[in-house]
């Protein structure tokens, strides 16, 4: 049976600590380069701070972890890639990036409505000896390719190997825990199989407080967010990079 792996991120629980960002980079062997900036760095998981646009005591802020939304329908990056370097895995629903096929044309970055794709501007490098600290389950990528979240595919492989060793066809979801989920100290990130109606994450995705970013464009993201605050839910229809401006439009909510 095919799965649809997805997430529900409870924004009311996110404290903006950034543990998910660091854990993601460590898991995926992303180098910390001195020349990288907020525009050029690789942050497959990026926590953004947005506000309700008010000032002084009426100001409220929320932290939104932005990652590849693993769009289900008309996946924009898949449609524009001339190299078939992006594909939706039918067995898992994960939008996969194949760096070996990527030309670095960056059409997919332009097409992604969530700004969740990053161009690898430099060859990865680490100070002498630090390569011993790299995760052996994930290959390093060279410059000139686009990178993004693949829901810790190496961990999915490990879970599959474990299931195969036990003679099972299906993985145990407890064995497949993406790094960001493992790192989140408040349990704000929840991960599950959205194809399974009994999965608590599926049920949570149907909560009245759940929403998806830019739902109106119809790409059916598999990453859901959740908040009890109306002004936070109203952010969903703005472009992620300009969320605070959009939030100011609903500052009286």
């Amino acid at each position: 049976m095919s799965a649809r792996y997805g997430m529900v991120i409870d924004l009311d629980r996110c404290t903006g600590c950034g543990a998910c960002m660091v854990a993601c980079a460590a898991e995926n062997n992303v180098a910390a380069l001195p020349q990288a900036t907020a525009r050029t760095g690789l942050t497959p998981m990026l926590v953004r701070k947005v506000s309700n646009g008010m000032e002084g005591g009426a100001r409220r802020e929320v932290f939104i972890p932005i990652m590849c939304m693993h769009c289900e329908h008309d996946t924009p990056c898949v449609r524009v890639c001339p190299q078939q370097a992006v594909e939706v895995d039918k067995a898992t629903g994960i939008v996969m990036q194949v760096p070996q096929r990527c030309l670095g044309c960056r059409y997919c970055m332009t097409a992604c409505p969530y700004h969740a794709r990053y161009f690898n501007w430099w060859d990865p490098s680490w100070p002498s000896g630090m390569e011993k600290s790299l995760n052996p389950g994930v290959a390093t990528r060279m410059r000139g390719v686009v990178e993004k979240c693949n829901l810790c595919h190496a961990r999915l492989h490990s879970a599959k190997e474990k299931a195969a060793a036990q003679g099972k066809r299906e993985i145990d979801l407890a064995d497949y825990v993406p790094a960001c989920l493992e790192a989140c100290p408040t349990g704000a990130i929840r991960f599950g199989n959205l194809a399974d109606p009994r999965d608590p994450v599926t049920q949570e995705s149907h909560s009245p407080h759940a929403f998806r970013l830019l739902a109106r464009i119809g790409t059916e993201p598999k990453v859901y967010y959740k908040s009890r605050k109306a002004w936070v839910r109203a952010l969903a229809e703005s472009v992620s990079g300009r969320a605070s401006e959009a939030a100011s439009e609903v500052k009286n909510v």
Binding site: D12, M21, A32, V47, D123, G129, P136, P185, T186
Partner: protein, 555 residues
């Protein structure tokens, strides 16, 4: 058969078309892509048997439980240990990149004397000479460890002084020590039983205490709820991360926390909202209003809101006596849900002053925060695994880095119960290193070793028959057949936890304390003792707009 030019063309076209339906061209294309994108100069991960070890983070005094993924004998990943009874799998963001720290270019690889290379023998001879010439002051940043015993014994034997550097949590508990006589190192916060927490600028959700302890509690009992079981009221001049997530944010003028505590106390007494009688703050409500920027009515409303759900405890970011006095008035001292006593075994410790006069030598342990720079005429010997510059030490001595040293982990400063754990050395340092205890033992051979003290402590725990060991399954100490078994379990990631102390303590407050100027809140990045942060901290401070670079004061 005659082969015509037409046949040749047809055959060629057919072969080309046929080849296209075989996997050969696609495989070749794929292989060329792979080959052309994996140049020899791109570092590749090392391979080897993968194993997961349980240990503890030793980069700050909190000692969170960690799972270390090892490949080929090297740590390749860090995750929180879900079986740790306090952090319960949660870590601060920096810990996830800590395994790369040992390879940081700022790693101190050899002894340095005034910036020049020197040998361990030179350093030992210079230190021994200083010890013979005058008093020595030894500064410890993480008191209570086995290594601390060695440092203290050496200082006492030589007629010198043993001083400690407080964590912000212990610093905030100093007023209670002064009023009750109970050492601050024996006190902790029982936040799990509190129902309202009034935080005066304390970064409760951003690095205060054990990072996972309060964030987990908050997530379970308060996050996003309109009427939560645990009310977090954040008094702070800025909309910090904790303020943004708090049940109520009270914006006041910067540095007016002490005044607001006095104002709340005045309302409590005036409106008889507390049973206790105590000294009345000298500051009037109007004066408090001017200092804080809140109206008198807002202060009254805030006080009623605080008292609506009890037990209440106020948490200070520093040794602000007015906030401590407010806790005394609220009845939060020596009571469940407040400031509690967790042990009765420690002694009063003297806090190190940044000015150290009349000493011939000052030795700073590697646990002393890097930004602690003593003002002294003495010769300064500083142990450190990383050299972040500006230390002003005469001697820089390379200490073991992350996971390279055997050490024990006493209770974290904010905990309400006593704990004990042992962090084994999982990796070998790539160059000669010594910790301060080993160095002192080489000068005075009569000192016990860290190994011996840990063994003796395990023996004491075994003989006490008290408490339990947390692991996959909590085990009472009484279940262990021998001390060796208990020690083995502790060295494999077990955490001993005492039973909560039932004995209470009281604070005598004769007059309301004088106003106090609060210091700037500090988060987890500033509580790290090492001068450098893991390289991947760049994701937080440089490659995103999540955190301001000025938050990174320590590195």
């Amino acid at each position: 058969m005659k082969v015509t030019r037409r046949d040749l063309l047809v055959w060629s076209a057919g072969a080309a078309a046929g080849l296209m339906v075989t996997p050969v061209p696609w495989k070749l294309l794929d292989d060329i892509s792979i080959w052309s994108q994996n140049w020899g100069w791109i570092p590749q991960p090392s391979h080897g048997p993968v194993d997961v070890k349980q240990s503890f983070c030793t980069l700050c005094p909190r000692g969170c439980g960690i799972k270390v993924r090892m490949a080929g004998g090297w740590p390749v990943g860090i995750a929180g240990s879900a079986t740790h009874p306090v952090n319960r799998g949660a870590l601060c963001p920096l810990a996830f990149g800590a395994h790369q720290l040992n390879w940081d270019p700022k790693r101190l690889r050899a002894v340095r004397h005034h910036g020049n290379p020197a040998s361990w023998e030179d350093a030992r001879a210079a230190f021994a000479k200083c010890c013979n010439e005058g008093p020595v002051v030894i500064v410890d940043g993480h008191p209570g460890r086995a290594a601390s015993v060695v440092l203290e014994k050496f200082a006492v034997n030589r007629g010198g002084q043993y001083r400690v550097v407080d964590s912000t949590e212990t610093d905030a508990l100093r007023p209670y020590e002064k009023w009750s006589g109970v050492p601050a190192s024996e006190l902790g916060y029982d936040l799990e039983n509190a129902q309202t927490i009034v935080s005066f600028g304390t970064p409760l959700l951003d690095g205060w205490g054990i990072p996972g302890q309060f964030t987990r509690l908050w997530a379970e009992q308060a996050a996003g709820q309109n009427d939560p079981q645990l009310r977090l009221i954040q008094v702070e001049s800025e909309l910090s991360r904790t303020a943004a997530r708090a049940w109520q944010w009270v914006p006041i003028h910067a540095g007016a926390e002490s005044a607001l505590a006095s104002g709340i106390a005045r309302v409590l007494l005036e409106e008889k909202l507390v049973a206790a009688r105590g000294p009345v703050p000298l500051m009037t409500l109007a004066e408090v209003a001017i200092q804080t920027g809140l109206s008198p009515d807002a202060i009254r409303d805030l006080t009623r809101s605080i008292m609506a759900q009890r037990p209440v405890v106020a948490v200070a970011n520093d040794a602000d006596p007015a906030i401590a006095a407010l806790n005394v008035l609220l009845g939060a001292v020596g009571a469940p849900g407040g400031i509690v006593r967790r042990s009765k075994s420690s002694t009063l410790q003297v806090v190190a002053d940044s000015v150290i006069p009349n000493a011939r030598a000052v030795l700073l342990d590697s646990t002393v925060p890097w930004d602690f720079v003593p003002k002294t005429d003495a010769e300064v010997f500083r142990f450190a695994a990383w050299d972040a510059g500006l230390s002003k030490a005469d001697w820089l001595l390379p200490a073991p880095g992350f996971l390279e040293d055997l050490t024990d982990i006493p209770s974290a400063p904010s905990l309400p119960v006593d704990t004990y754990a042992v962090a084994p050395n999982l990796v070998r340092a790539p160059h000669p290193v010594q910790n301060a205890a080993q160095f002192l033992a080489s000068v005075n051979s009569s000192l016990p070793t860290v190994e011996q003290i840990i063994h003796a402590r395990c023996d004491n725990l075994f003989r006490s028959r008290a408490g339990r060991l947390s692991g996959l399954q909590p085990t009472p100490v009484t279940s262990f057949a021998s001390c060796q078994k208990l020690e083995e379990e502790l060295r494999n990631g077990g955490v001993w936890m005492a039973e909560p102390l039932t004995e209470s303590f009281r604070c005598e407050l004769k007059q309301w304390p004088d106003p106090f100027v609060s210091s700037r809140p500090e988060g987890w990045s500033t509580s790290w003792t090492s001068g450098v942060l893991p390289p991947l901290a760049s994701k937080l401070y440089q490659e995103s707009n999540l955190r301001d670079a000025r938050e990174r004061r320590n590195a």
